[in-house]
């Protein structure tokens, strides 16, 4: 209980963010952007490391989180992503191959910066496996508000999101909507900064992928289960902090998320 009274803003932030990421994830998969989101995650991590490197070069040390570093890293990540989109336009037929080579290149660059300045290793670790308990109270409140507003906006605009996703999924003529790209970049950026790349991609993609595998009867069922599993995983995973405070909460949350989805998948198959 002591833990909860201290960390309740962090818990609410993780809970709200998991719901928002789940909703965005359904439409990201529907619009064939799962691979793009994976690349974007890597670009965001590279942005964090490169901005930390730059700030260290100019003797402006900052902690990991939503600080001046965030804005610089976001600009770097968006620049990288625009270059990636330009490359895909030229080489769309080998989309997967281009994405893989690009991710390997970014990983190599990350390691180069880290070897040049070992002080930024903590930024690398945090941006990969962040921990919700390290978020400040203001960061937590901001994330909660931002995510809750998005969930409400989504509920109001649900039909518009769905129509766009169906058109992109079924008709080759339709282009990706810029509004979805902006939402994806904003929420992924927020989440990678605070909770790390692994948490972000898991919350974004895991439950929607399991919904695809189980052939849900309609969108309302899919949304219900994605929200339930993402939210439940945060609540259960967070309570794991009381068992062992050396394991990052994001690791516990992802373990629970995987277990819940696997249980759901196999129980559906057995019931069939």
């Amino acid at each position: 209980m002591d833990m909860l009274s201290f960390y309740w803003p962090n818990l609410i932030a993780g809970f709200c963010l998991s719901l928002a990421l789940g909703l965005i994830g359904i439409h990201t998969i529907a619009r064939n952007q799962a691979l793009d989101s994976f690349v974007l995650g890597q670009e965001l991590q590279s942005g964090i490391i490169f901005s930390a490197f730059l700030l260290n070069v100019f003797d402006m040390h900052v902690d990991h989180g939503l600080h001046s570093e965030s804005l610089i890293s976001l600009v770097i990540a968006i620049t990288l992503h625009l270059s990636f989109i330009w490359m895909l336009k030229k080489y769309n037929l080998i989309r997967l191959e281009v994405s893989l080579v690009y991710v390997f290149f970014l990983i190599a660059i990350n390691n180069l910066f880290m070897s040049l300045n070992p002080m930024i290793e903590s930024h690398m670790v945090n941006s990969m496996l962040g921990d919700i308990v390290t978020a400040s109270k203001i960061e937590s409140i901001l994330i909660s508000l931002f995510s809750a507003l998005f969930v409400l906006f989504y509920i109001k605009q649900r039909k518009v999101f769905l129509k766009e996703s169906i058109d992109i999924a079924l008709f080759s003529e339709e282009k990706q909507k810029i509004s979805h790209q902006i939402i994806l970049v904003l929420f992924m950026s927020l989440s990678v900064h605070i909770l790390g790349l692994v948490f972000t991609l898991s919350m974004l993609l895991m439950a929607p992928i399991f919904m695809l595998l189980t052939h849900m009867k309609n969108l309302n069922y899919s949304i219900f289960y994605v929200l339930l599993f993402n939210g439940l995983s945060v609540l259960i995973g967070f309570s794991g902090l009381g068992l062992n405070d050396r394991i990052p909460t994001s690791v516990m949350i992802i373990m629970v998320l995987t277990m819940v989805n696997l249980l759901f998948f196999f129980s559906k198959r057995i019931l069939k």
Binding site: L162, D167, A169, L170, F171, E173, L212, K217, N218, S222
Partner: protein, 180 residues
């Protein structure tokens, strides 16, 4: 009153190749216009230009419509959406009965997806409807039912622009005569 008019109109691909040259074509309100021509002649691209979704053209294009319903050609991509056909459309038509509503979109056949999309477009109930190859993937029984719907649509004084190889008995324009 026209719906749209093309004067000395030339159409290009995104890479700059000429598809159609010196087209002069007018569609009147309340008319059904059937665009025909071989594969790749530029039927779908012309429709996209009329709808202002493809800008690679020269000449005069006058649009006199404000709203429209549009059914594009289905792609061959396998959709990844954890939804059922009822999420695409839950409006029943003789060719799209309620029994189809619970079929998962990702496991639905091309014909089932097409019926759901046609149902969505018909339900919009607009005064100008554009259907690009609406009969592809459909079985013979459904083709008859969709034709019946379209006949009633035209009789109600609304405008229909359609492409495809199924004869509808309306005014036909063969785009091949304008190819280079």
């Amino acid at each position: 009153m026209s719906v749209f008019e093309l004067k000395d109109f030339s159409l290009f691909t995104a890479s700059g190749n000429v598809l159609l040259k010196d087209v002069n074509l007018k569609m009147r309100k309340g008319e059904a216009l059937h665009l025909v021509g071989e594969n790749g002649v530029g039927k779908s691209t012309l429709i996209l230009s009329i709808l202002n979704k493809h800008q690679a053209y020269a000449g005069e294009l006058t649009r006199s419509f404000n709203s429209y319903s549009y059914l594009a050609q289905l792609s061959n991509k396998n959709p990844k959406l954890p939804i059922a056909l009822r999420d695409v459309s839950s409006v029943e038509y003789p060719f799209y009965p309620k029994s189809m509503f619970d079929i998962a979109l990702q496991t639905a056949s091309g014909g089932e997806r097409k019926k759901a999309m046609l149902s969505r477009v018909f339900a919009e109930n607009s005064d100008f409807m554009i259907l690009d190859e609406p009969f592809n993937h459909l079985d013979q029984k459904s083709i008859v039912l969709v034709k019946e719907y379209l006949d009633n649509y035209i009789k109600s004084g609304r405008s229909l622009l359609i492409t495809g190889h199924t004869d509808l008995g309306h005014r036909k324009e063969d785009l091949s005569k304008w190819t280079c």
